[in-house]
């Protein structure tokens, strides 16, 4: 059950907040902007023509500035918000069309959610919060507790099982929210800025927990973040939202290498390119060379450069997973790509200082 095998397909999704949203879909389709809609009809454009396929078993990151519609989008996947128009297809069913009982079962069995503002149950202890999803599905207390305790330990809250949420710090509360969602063991994990309240150390730690989990279980994860480094570390794919529209969608590498517009360029300017771009994208397709270093195709520029420096080599072979030779990178090319973003001097200077 836990492993995801179906994509989530979001098709032509619109959300207009206001008493009479449906009446304005046509205007928005005809190109009315968020500002105009607000000024002329006093309705808020939440989502505008969203088409997104969230791949099964992968981490889909959604980024964008505050108010760009990230939380609105993620809430459509478990229909906490009713769309004004559009479809959300999963396992051949349109979530938008589900009846109440069907929707309840879908939420219970297929999804779990971590909330931006935690939304813990204040009257329940950490353990009772964590077992909530299992309790309402009628799973016996003993089993529910055992599963909950495992995740509480995994997020580093062992010993706090009996505490109430407001006895915990913000970061600890966020981890309770995480444990609560993970305990549900659902195929779809919806994470709305799930790590934003964590300090950098625990944050990195939780990212590792998530990546480990993903290696084991291959859930379909929708992960919202403001942090590009986090997006690049976690996201198999990244979608960038602005004013309710998706303005670019692709792998982290694609977005860093070819930002679709200035808005996105400004997002990715400060990124550590060595952590994002793979050596494979800068290799030359030539015959194997004599060198002690052979790198996997997934090696990042920084890893490649370090491996070559450590081995005192200036070139490395790159091999596919099955061992087949793919090409060759040089140390100088790797370093050049790490410090030379597309847009010239300013970033160059930055890279040198760092």
């Amino acid at each position: 059950m836990a492993e995801a095998t179906h994509d989530i397909e979001i098709r032509d999704l619109y959300k207009i907040f206001g008493p009479n949203g449906a009446a304005h879909v046509a205007d928005v389709k005809a190109g009315m902007s968020k500002e105009d809609l607000k000024a002329r009809h006093d309705h808020v454009l939440g989502l505008d023509d969203i088409n997104l396929t969230i791949p099964a078993g992968r981490i889909q990151v959604v980024m964008g500035l505050s108010g760009s519609g990230k939380s609105t989008l993620i809430r459509h996947i478990n229909r906490l918000i009713e769309p004004t128009a559009g479809k959300v297809i999963f396992e051949g069913r349109d979530i938008v069309q589900m009846g109440p009982a069907e929707l309840r079962d879908f939420r219970r069995e297929k999804t779990a959610m971590v909330f931006q503002k935690f939304a813990l149950f204040p009257h329940r202890t950490v353990l009772e919060n964590t077992t909530y999803g299992l309790n309402i599905r009628g799973i016996p207390d003993g089993e529910a507790e055992e599963r909950a305790r495992r995740w509480i330990a995994r997020v580093g809250l062992e010993g706090f099982e009996g505490s109430y949420p407001n006895q915990l710090s913000g970061g600890m509360q966020q981890r309770v929210g995480l444990a609560r969602a993970l305990t549900n063991d659902a195929g779809i994990l919806l994470m709305d800025e799930a790590f934003s309240a964590l300090d950098p150390l625990i944050r990195t730690d939780m990212q590792s927990v998530l990546l480990d989990l993903q290696q084991e279980l291959q859930k379909t994860i929708v992960f919202i973040t403001h942090d590009l480094d986090e997006a690049l570390r976690l996201g198999d794919r990244i979608a960038i939202l602005r004013d309710g529209r998706i303005i670019q969608e692709g792998t982290g590498e694609q977005i860093v290498l070819r930002p679709a517009d200035d808005y996105i360029s400004s997002f990715v300017r400060d990124v550590k390119r060595g952590h994002v771009i793979t050596a494979r994208t800068v290799m030359r397709r030539v015959e194997p060379v004599e060198t002690p270093v052979t790198l996997p195709a997934t090696a990042l520029l920084e890893e490649a450069a370090r491996a070559m420096t450590d081995a005192d080599a200036s070139r490395a072979n790159i091999a596919a997973q099955d061992g087949a030779h793919l090409g060759v990178v040089t140390l100088s090319k790797c370093v050049a790509e790490m410090i030379a973003p597309d847009d010239g001097d300013e970033a160059d200077a930055k890279a040198q200082v760092a």
Partner: protein, 294 residues
């Protein structure tokens, strides 16, 4: 045109109207009074049972029982000690039996108010339409002078315990309804959304989230209901409810100052006991809100 006198109905018309309504109500009473009385008979049985229990049992046992109950609610030795002292004084001044009758009365009225009030409060919280209809009725119940609704109650049931209970419940039930409604509506939207996201049914949301979070507020309603039923005891004594209210009434009629004050103080004493122990219980329900972090 005469603008000084209000253009009222003529005296004759007014009298005819009153007579028509009164007659209709009297006919209704004659036709259905017995049926209604038998419907409400279980209240009488319950009240008599509790009264007998409190009055016929050895006083020391009753005292210990009440002290135990107060301890169970409030977990505070101070409140228990106050309760024991107050009850000993009440007994010493010869008001034991009346006090027990009043306690029985308040207990039964509160029980009925809770049984009616909580479901009505839930209904109001879930449906804005129900809220719109019931709110003005509650306003009316709370502002209508209690003597006015004593009239139809007495016409139907005559004098006695049952009409007393009904009158007290009508007077005392609004706060518990209002505060149940308020408590449920105050549950934070994001917490409800989380319950929703995990696939809770409406009943599960109510049981697992809304009622537990509303409980401290509901307890405040129960507390007010108890206070109001105690306040109503004197009025109810006019329609034959026995207890501490009767001597007060007698004292008013005959200008017995000491008798009035003593029984008045006894009412105050049990009011304080009820109040402190239910409030302490309400506080205990809120333990999880004792913030250590913002």
């Amino acid at each position: 045109m005469d603008l000084v006198d209000f253009p009222s109905m003529s005296r004759g018309d007014l009298r005819d109207m009153r007579i028509a309504i009164d007659t209709a109500f009297r006919d209704f009473t004659r036709a259905y009074g017995d049926t209604l009385e038998s419907i409400f008979h279980p209240i009488q049985v319950l009240l008599v049972f509790i009264e007998d229990l409190l009055i016929d049992a050895p006083w020391i046992v009753v005292l210990a029982g009440l002290a135990g109950l107060v301890w169970a609610l409030g977990r505070s030795w101070k409140i228990v000690a106050g309760t024991v002292i107050a009850l000993l004084l009440i007994g010493y001044f010869g008001m034991w039996e009346d006090t027990m009758r009043t306690i029985a009365m308040v207990a039964v009225c509160t029980l009925i108010a809770v049984v009616i009030g909580i479901p009505v409060g839930i209904l109001m919280a879930r449906s804005d339409r129900a809220n719109g209809v019931i709110t003005p009725i509650l306003d009316m119940m709370q502002t209508m002078p209690s003597f006015v609704y004593l009239i139809p109650v007495v016409m139907i049931f005559g004098l006695g315990k049952v009409p007393g209970v009904i009158a007290v419940v009508i007077y005392a039930v609004p706060p518990i309804i209002r505060l149940t409604n308020l408590g449920i509506r105050q549950v934070p939207a994001d917490v409800l959304e989380a319950a929703e996201a995990f696939g809770s049914s409406a009943g599960q949301k109510l049981r697992e989230v809304q009622l537990p979070l509303a409980l401290p507020t509901i307890m405040a309603g129960v507390n007010q209901t108890i206070m109001m039923s105690l306040a109503m005891v004197v009025v109810a004594s006019m329609i034959g409810v026995r207890g501490l209210g009767q001597p007060v009434l007698q004292a008013i009629n005959n200008q017995y100052f000491t008798l009035g004050v003593m029984n008045g103080l006894a009412i105050v004493a049990i009011a304080i006991i009820f109040d402190r122990s239910t409030q302490a219980y309400g506080k205990r329900l809120q333990r999880h809100l004792e913030a250590q972090h913002g």
